[in-house]
């Protein structure tokens, strides 16, 4: 393997820091200006992200003109202790470039949409401040030139995510969801911290270049530990098994948040981390297998639960869990599939953002209801939302010639290409996932927009204003076309990061996989169409155990309660009683003793000069006596 090195940033690329500074500045101004900024705050927030998008485009163009396709920028030193030096450094390379474009581009559209969506919310300025804060943190995450910087961004998006999920903090469910997301992420973040400690311990650095170049010298155990720790962190942020439970609850936040953070960008941070660390993951086949298993398991998990949910946003959330499972599967397969994972991520960014914003538009029309059992027949009332949602639907289920076809099919093909029985199992899971995706997305689509109207009495649906439909249209177009347009050029573009892409050959040819996928997708979609075109019950009724199990998130919550909550409560209870009786008892006893001593000794402080003088005299006698004792000895 050749050495990895990053060229110093020159020319326009020396301005990479401004990408982060723009939204960070926006957040700072909006938070510090307070109510004074209420009138124009949302425009400023949108403008900074728009400017960042323009800058990202310019930087992208400059990077494309470079031979070595990387720009490394050292800003200042954060930590310098002994041999360990950690700089605030940025890295702009093909991988971070596509992420920057996704974050700022899709982010800009969602900002615009949010101007309309949050128009009647008293906290709109605060919302845009947090949105900007999120964008800045996410950009730090993908632009960081070492793991430490990535970690800063990692924690930053965790914070922004918490603030935004719990944005309507007076709603107990929102506050709880924010806390849940934060805590789950914190648990997984320990993996990131430990991974950095392992790097510092084994390689003495957290710089990408140093770590990647030194990775080959690591023992198998170390590289296994490193890979698994990074995977744990990635699973937490991306809502992958076993950390998936926080992501659907995160839908308590305003819908633009779900679109930007919990669909298009932040939850893909885990994929970014694995892709960025491809050198480490490629070293150890066991780690790769674990990633593949996590991906396959999660994509099925998400798809199955997605079939059983009746809440429009939760279906989309589980679908996100499932789609990120595909990405994990891809990056776990390694080699050329790394690029496939990233392409699927980009395409997903478009269509999932579009779907979420579409669901927001629907909720807007339906008095913030989210139950798809009470929708139906909306296509006539909301033509723009309908059309763009349809584009997203076509893209996610992956029919030719729409996005998903170009991005998901190759992943399934690569999964089949894995050697031995694993190829069949993993490929089969991916194929089954595609069928399920087609089924539950069709169910969602049909129940929302077609069939009889099952509205509650007080709703009067209407199309959303232009400031909301505009971004929808752009995202809809992106959903349809992005996959086809990006698949080949992006693979080439990412070559400097992942190496040459080779067509995977395995159990099935690409053509066979395509035919099989198209067949199951059509089958799933058709099933969904026929089952639900006539509408559905307006309230869920008793169902067989698999459905009940799926409605209960496949037992995720039960496991959490049994494995984490109950033992934690026991330990906490024991600690409290230990603290109350033993520790407090000792402390209180000690303080009572000290206080008593203090009061008794203070009786010596009589206020009489004669007793003070006596004290000095006796002190002097003691001093002389003590010196004599030394002499006698």
């Amino acid at each position: 393997m050749h050495d990895i090195s990053y060229a110093p940033a020159t020319g326009a690329l020396a301005w990479t820091w401004a990408l982060i500074a723009l939204p960070a500045l926006g957040a700072a101004v909006l938070l510090l200006a307070g109510r004074r900024a209420d009138k124009w705050g949302h425009w400023l927030g949108t403008a900074t992200i728009g400017a960042a998008f323009a800058l990202a485009l310019a930087l992208f163009a400059s990077l494309a003109g470079l031979d070595d396709k990387s720009a490394h920028l050292d800003l200042f030193t954060i930590i310098s202790v002994g041999d360990l030096q950690i700089d605030a450094s940025l890295l702009f390379d093909p991988l971070s470039a596509v992420f920057c474009l996704l974050i700022t581009g899709v982010g800009f559209l969602i900002h615009v949409y949010a101007i309309g969506y949050m128009a009647h919310d008293a906290g709109r300025r605060k919302f845009f401040a947090y949105f900007n804060l999120f964008a800045a943190a996410m950009l730090v995450l993908v632009l960081g030139g070492n793991y430490f910087m990535t970690f800063i961004g990692w924690e930053g998006v965790g914070l922004a995510s918490y603030l935004l999920i719990a944005f309507w903090q007076l709603k107990p469910s929102a506050a709880t969801a924010g806390k849940k997301a934060f805590l789950t992420n914190r648990v997984a973040d320990v993996g990131f911290l430990l991974a950095m400690f392992v790097m510092i311990g084994a390689l003495g650095s957290v710089d990408f270049a140093t770590v990647f170049n030194g990775a080959e010298s690591l023992s198998t155990g170390t590289s296994l530990a490193l890979g698994l720790l990074l995977l744990a962190a990635a699973c937490g942020k991306s809502g992958q098994f076993p950390f998936q439970t926080w992501l659907p609850d995160a839908m308590e936040g305003p819908t633009p948040v779900s679109a930007l953070i919990h669909a298009a960008t932040m939850v893909t941070a885990g994929v970014y981390l694995i892709a960025r660390s491809n050198v480490i993951f490629s070293l150890n086949a066991d780690v790769q297998t674990v990633v593949v298993v996590v991906g396959a398991l999660t994509l099925l998990f998400g798809a199955i639960v997605g079939c059983a949910k009746d809440d429009i946003k939760r279906v989309l959330a589980w679908s996100t869990v499932s789609q990120i499972g595909y990405m994990f599967l891809a990056v776990g397969l390694g080699g050329g599939a790394f690029a496939l994972g990233i392409i699927h991520l980009l395409a997903h960014g478009f269509f999932k953002a579009g779907l979420f914003l579409g669901s927001g538009s629907v909720m807007h029309a339906m008095n913030d209801q989210t139950d798809i059992r009470r929708f139906g027949g909306l296509w006539r009332v909301m033509p723009w939302t309908y059309a763009t949602f349809a584009a997203g639907w076509l893209a996610i289920i992956g029919l030719f010639p729409f996005s998903g076809y170009f991005t998901k099919d190759p992943i399934i093909a690569s999964a089949f290409a894995r050697e031995g029985w694993q190829g069949w199992v993993v490929g089969g899971a991916a194929l089954l996932g595609a069928a399920l995706t087609a089924f539950y997305m069709t169910r969602l689509f049909v129940l929302t927009f077609h069939g009889p109207r099952r509205w509650t009495e007080d709703v009067h649906p209407h199309e959303s204003p232009a400031i909301m439909t505009g971004p929808l249209v752009l995202l809809g177009l992106g959903s349809l076309a992005a996959g086809g347009l990006m698949a080949s050029p992006v693979t080439t573009w990412l070559t400097p990061v992942f190496g040459e892409h080779h067509e995977a050959h395995g159990h099935l040819t690409h053509m066979q996989v395509t035919i099989a996928t198209t067949a199951v997708v059509v089958l799933g979609a058709a099933l969904g169409w026929f089952l639900f075109r006539g509408g559905t019950e307006e309230v869920p009724r008793a169902a067989s155990w698999p459905v009940r199990f799926a409605r209960a998130d496949l037992g995720g919550e039960v496991v959490n309660r049994g494995v984490f909550e109950r033992p934690s409560r026991l330990v906490a209870g024991a600690t409290v009683s230990m603290d109350g009786r033993v520790v407090d008892g000792a402390v209180n006893g000690l303080s009572a003793a000290i206080g008593g001593t203090s009061r008794r000794l203070l009786q010596l402080q009589t206020g009489f000069v004669r007793s003070y003088a006596l004290s000095i005299l006796s002190g002097a006698v003691i001093v002389v006596a003590a010196l004599m004792v030394v002499v006698v000895q």
């Binding site: 303080s591 000290i594 206080g595 001593t597 203090s598 009061r599 000794l601 203070l602 010596l604 402080q605 206020g607 000069v609 007793s611 003070y612 003088a613 004290s615 000095i616 006796s618 002190g619 002097a620 003691i622 001093v623 002389v624 003590a626 010196l627 004599m628 004792v629 030394v630 002499v631």
Partner: protein, 517 residues
């Protein structure tokens, strides 16, 4: 003095300049009292005192790097005044801290006419006394303070016991007076002054007796000579031991070490608060400066003899100060006991000798700023005209005066030694040096004592923020720029020395070597 000596006597005038400037200003202050109309005396006296002290500070800075005796005859140094790193650093510290203290003395806005009585001779609580409550305080306090400051500056550079004694009396006498000049609660103030005077005189007697013994032992009062004699003198060592013991008693009295501390809470409480601030900051620097020099230069060779008893006293002081502080209900008494406990920590620096000179000096500077600011805040919180010193009156101050409460919180945390304050860096440096010199036991006691002492400090913080204020809670009187800048400088120094202590650590590092050791 014969002619030959006269011809050969060389005087380092530049080296003496800081003391001469302050001394001259003190006399100038006396003339001001006679010549300047009463209404303008305050401004003139304050300006004179501040200018003199700043000039002295500049002169000290110009002397930096010196390591020589101020007087010499034909190349032979006379040990009476020694200009060396520690001496100059401590002189500079005293100059800076006393500038701040002078500003506090000049405060007139928080209470009408200031904290000082106009005519100290009027019988307390008489009709005449009540009528002078409205008058402006006496401005003689400024020359008195300057005389005390000269004494302190001389004390830290005195190279023989006799000069040291003169300096000791020189800074003690004006302080006795200043303690009795409070305008309110005059009887307590006068009682404090009398107590301080009587016990101070008692301690001075110990000093003179100890000096006589040491002269008998060494045949000289020069510190370096005494050190030499500790190795080579043929006189009975009994003389040395009694001498060391008596000398230590007198100096530990000034430093307020247990069991010579009993005067401290009474005097700190009774004295006008600006004078208490002066004592807590400057006298502490002077007393420990003298101790540092006596033990490092004069008694280093007999360290083995006094090590045990000084260790016992340090432990008693650290634990005593902390334990006494726990049950205090009066903020000035609490700070007094805190000052006693801090004397205990500083004694660790004395016992550690040469290795801890730098960190001891850093501690003195850091503690001086914090203490002066703390007393300045105490002087702002008032029930009407009188200071609200009882802690129960401070409950809920954070609700009414968050700024003042926040400042006092920072100071309390600094005294408790929390990180990001000078209290932490100072304690850390001192304890680290002591550990390096093998004083494990003392450091453990120091840490335990700090933990005990954190309780009363934090209780004040809790009181400030978490308790409901009483309906007739005291007001925080808006300070004039005088007291305001005292608080600001003190808090700023406390934080800067906590966050970026590097520059001062460098200075004390370079200035930590005594001449003649």
């Amino acid at each position: 003095m014969n002619e030959a000596q006269q011809a050969g006597l060389q005087i380092d005038w530049a080296g003496l300049a800081p003391m001469i400037i302050v001394f001259a200003a003190a006399f100038g202050g006396l003339l001001v009292e006679a010549a300047v109309p009463r209404a303008r005396r305050l401004v003139v006296q304050t300006a004179l005192a501040v200018a003199a002290l700043l000039a002295a500070l500049v002169a000290v800075i110009l002397n930096r790097g010196k390591a020589s005796a101020a007087f010499s005859i034909e190349g032979t140094d006379l040990g009476s005044v020694v200009l060396d790193g520690p001496g100059l650093f401590l002189q500079g510290t005293i100059a800076v801290l006393s500038v701040i203290a002078v500003l506090l003395l000049a405060e007139r806005r928080t209470t009408r006419g200031g904290d000082f009585v106009a005519e100290a001779a009027v019988v307390a609580d008489s009709a005449a006394d009540r009528s002078q409550q409205r008058e402006d305080g006496a401005t003689e306090i400024f020359p008195l303070t300057l005389f005390a400051v000269v004494g302190m500056m001389m004390f830290v550079v005195a190279g023989d016991l006799l000069t040291m004694f003169v300096a000791l009396e020189m800074f003690s006498l004006p302080l006795y007076l200043l303690c009795g000049l409070a305008k309110r609660r005059r009887l307590i103030s006068q009682e404090a002054a009398l107590k301080y005077f009587l016990l101070g005189a008692f301690a001075s007697a110990f000093y003179v007796y100890g000096m006589a013994m040491l002269y008998g032992f060494a045949g000289t009062v020069d510190l370096a000579g005494i050190n030499q004699a500790g190795v080579s003198s043929g006189q009975p060592r009994l003389l040395l031991y009694i001498g060391v013991a008596m000398l230590a008693v007198a100096m530990l009295f000034k430093a307020a070490a247990v069991p010579f501390h009993m005067w401290t809470p009474d005097v700190y409480t009774g004295a006008p608060t600006p004078v208490t601030a002066l004592m807590a900051a400057c006298v502490k620097v002077a007393a420990f400066g003298g101790l540092l020099r006596v033990f490092n230069v004069g008694l280093e060779s007999s360290a083995w003899d006094w090590h045990m008893i000084l260790t016992i006293i340090a432990i008693a002081t650290m634990l005593g100060g902390a334990i006494f502080a726990v049950t205090q209900r009066n903020i000035k008494r609490l700070l007094a006991y805190s000052s006693i406990a801090n004397a205990g920590y500083l004694l660790i620096g004395i016992i550690t000798l040469g290795d801890a000179v730098g960190s001891t000096m850093f501690y003195l500077a850091a503690y001086g700023f914090t203490a002066i600011a703390a007393f300045a805040v105490v002087s702002l919180v008032r029930d009407g005209d009188e200071e609200a010193t009882h802690l129960s009156r401070w409950a809920g101050l954070g609700k009414k005066s968050p700024g003042t409460a926040a400042v006092f919180t920072v100071l309390m945390l600094a005294l408790a030694g929390l990180p990001f304050t000078s209290g932490f860096t100072a304690k850390f440096g001192l304890f680290a040096d002591a550990l390096g010199a093998g004083e494990v036991g003392l450091v453990i006691v120091g840490v335990v004592s700090s933990a005990i002492l954190a309780f009363p400090y934090l209780r004040v913080v809790v009181l400030l923020w978490l308790n409901e204020p009483a309906p007739d809670a005291p007001t925080v009187n808006l300070p004039s720029p005088m007291a305001g800048s005292v608080v600001a400088v003190g808090v700023a120094a406390t934080l800067v020395l906590g966050v970026a202590p590097g520059f001062l650590l460098d200075i004390v590092d370079q200035a930590s070597t005594f001449l003649n050791t």
